[in-house]
Amino acid sequence: MKLGLDPAVIAKARTLAARAAEPVIELARTHTTVSVERAVLRLAGVTGADADGTPWVNRITDAVREQAGLDHGVALPVFHALNEHGLSLDDPLSLLAARFTVPNGGQAVRARTRARAAVARGIATIDHNRAERQRLLGKHGDPEMPWIYLIVATGDIYEDIPQAQAAAREGADVIAVIRSTGQSLLDYVPEGATRQGYAGTYATQENFRLMRAALDDVSGELGRYVRLTNYASGLCMPEIATLAGLERLDMMLNDCMYGIIFRDINPIRTFVDQRFSRQVHARAGIVINTGEDNYLTTADAVDAAHTVIASQLLNERFGHEAGLADWQLGLGHAFEINPEIPDSFRMELAHAQLVRELFPDAPLKYMPPTKHMTGNIFAGYLLDAFFNLAGVLTGQSILLIGMMTEGIHTPWLSDRDLALANVRYVRRAVGALHEDFVPAPGGFTVERARQVLSETVDLLDRVCDSSLLTAIAEGTFGVTRRPPDRGKGLDGVIRHADAYYNPATQILEEDA
């Protein structure tokens, strides 16, 4: 520990974060959402879509909601109907022909048992994938940290695949397929392999499968397990988390507040969805990546440094409560200080070292400069090098590799190749230089870190005095105001009835 932080202050920050999170966790425990219920159906084995591409899980959930409401969950009415009419989930059309009601008494018991059995099979698949990942990590080998994390984003899964494989060959340890701009606001998950996305490729179960298979091939070729990442985020967060578990994705972007702030999704919807999705991630052995880095694209990286730390402490708390272990908490932060200001790099070191010391066991995700990347690709290449240097000097775990063309377009093949050459040079040339990085006691670096930590404590104090929802409404994070009664997807939030039943949460919580 190089910064000599006061353990008492750190403990105080954690206590405050827990207190701020508590009421929101209570909300999440007592509500469900349309996407949570659709995720249950997916775990139970419902796949595919109708002729217009509307997934059966949406058709079924909507029908149930209309006829029986969702306050008891989707499982009871659906499996009751299956029992009544002797149907199976492989035949959604006939199921939709049936009338949905909330069973009770013995019917309820039978529906519950059958639902639980079905969902248990889905969870078994997730368990099997987790074991399979372990096997492959043993077989191909697990790269040492920092992991090199690269994005592909052509919009066409069939262009993405060769580019992802090329990136892996050039040294990428993690491949993220970023999503088409619009997807986060879709209240359904598209089906099948897709070839036309904007600035990203749609997240679909089939695209997940294709890319994971392609990466398994290179992993074998390279003797190094290459991880795959996508986004459990937006209105379908719970379902995408589920699909990730079912297709053996390895990491997922998953934040307790990102959707609220950057996609104007209703706060309560998001908090309910993130809890379920994290329970799934915990079970699947998936590492989540949180999105604090994004705050610094709308707020100033110096003024708002403490909001990043506060949010990380909240993400940690929500994560732990949902069953995630420290090794699964890829807390996010970023190198976004304006390069025009004095001491910018030294301040970045202070911030990065602070996060490292606050979360010693978390696989921190460190994001490269984006906001201050311009059309000057040379300046960009330089800034990315200093980001790489900060990452290595402060022992970050997951380095998202910056592109010199960040200010211009989504990465080209050559941008990625040059970016990897950049980080390869920095790692090789610097070696164990972190041994010689010893912040002077009472010096600029140490003082800056101390200041950010104390600002964090003050902020969390204020949040506790009002409430997290109020803080979000007042634009505390990412200088964006999001009131709890506004935002997309609010109508998809349902309060539990006393007899609410969710076989997935039941299994996940009893085994947790």
Binding site: G155, R169, T181, W412, D417
Partner: protein, 261 residues
């Protein structure tokens, strides 16, 4: 201005380290394996671009199927600099907030209504917020700060129809739209769609401010198109400041008004 023009060099060429040397740098990827044949292909492309001589100073295999090249060379192309009909100076006076307020007050005698949004699936609001929010950009306050301007900032991922409806509802004088995502021409596509929707919604209009709101679009990568291509009244690009925009709106909607120094 004319004196200006006379003094402008007529014909110019790129400059490496000597006047007239015409030197440029180029880089690109070719979908072929690295080797002498690939380097010959790179030279061929460079010559196609007008580099002669063209020197392939760097070639790197990117996997088995692609090669990245950096080429330096001299181009013969001449630029008719004097012939470029872009004015040296400003097209319209840059006004201070108080001048803008005064113009609106004196001429319109009511507040000027502006509606802003990121349309389509674009969620990059930092740019439009930089123009609209009080906070502003580059030290300048945004339009919300202007007493005589009424701002409706609809935020991100706004459907075109919703934008038109809202613009009508509040009787917008100007509609400000931001497009930052350009992949697959998204920004051009969305903007044209938006312009079309306004034409349909105001069938009798003869132009911006004449029967329909002034249509202003902005974003960092619009420099490949002209307003007429898109059917809008003005495009703003990289580094635009709020005052630029406010001044243009006054210039376009209140042409009769002149700031008295």
């Amino acid at each position: 201005m004319t004196t200006e023009l006379d003094t402008i060099k007529q014909i110019i060429r790129p400059y490496g380290d000597t006047t007239g040397d015409g030197m440029v740098q180029v880089s690109f990827t070719l979908p072929v394996p690295h080797g002498p044949r690939a380097e010959a292909a790179a030279s061929q492309l460079a010559r196609g671009m007008g580099l002669d001589p063209a020197s392939v100073v760097h070639a790197k295999a990117m996997g088995p199927d692609f090669t990245f090249f950096i080429v330096y060379g001299r181009v013969g192309h001449l630029i008719d600099y004097a012939g470029i009909d872009v004015p040296e100076g400003r097209e319209y006076p840059l006004l201070t907030p108080s001048q803008v307020n005064l113009a609106i007050k004196t001429v319109l005698q009511r507040r000027l209504v502006v509606v802003g949004a990121c349309i389509g699936t674009d969620a990059h609001t930092v740019g439009i917020d930089a123009i609209l929010n009080v906070k502003g950009f580059a030290g300048e306050k945004g339009l919300e700060y202007y007493r005589e301007i009424e701002v409706h900032n609809l935020g991100a991922q706004v459907e075109v129809d919703a934008l038109v409806t809202h613009a009508k509802a509040v009787n917008a004088d100007a509609v400000l739209v931001s497009q930052v995502v350009t992949q697959k021409g998204a920004h051009v596509h969305n903007t044209k769609q938006m312009a079309g929707a306004f034409t349909d919604a105001y069938p009798t209009a003869v132009g911006g401010g004449l029967g329909r709101p002034l249509l202003v679009v902005g974003g960092p990568r619009f420099d490949t198109v002209s307003p007429s291509d898109l059917g809008v009244d003005r495009i703003f690009g990289r580094g635009t400041t709020p005052a630029e925009v406010a001044s243009f709106i006054v210039h376009a909607l209140i042409p009769e008004w002149q700031p008295d120094e």
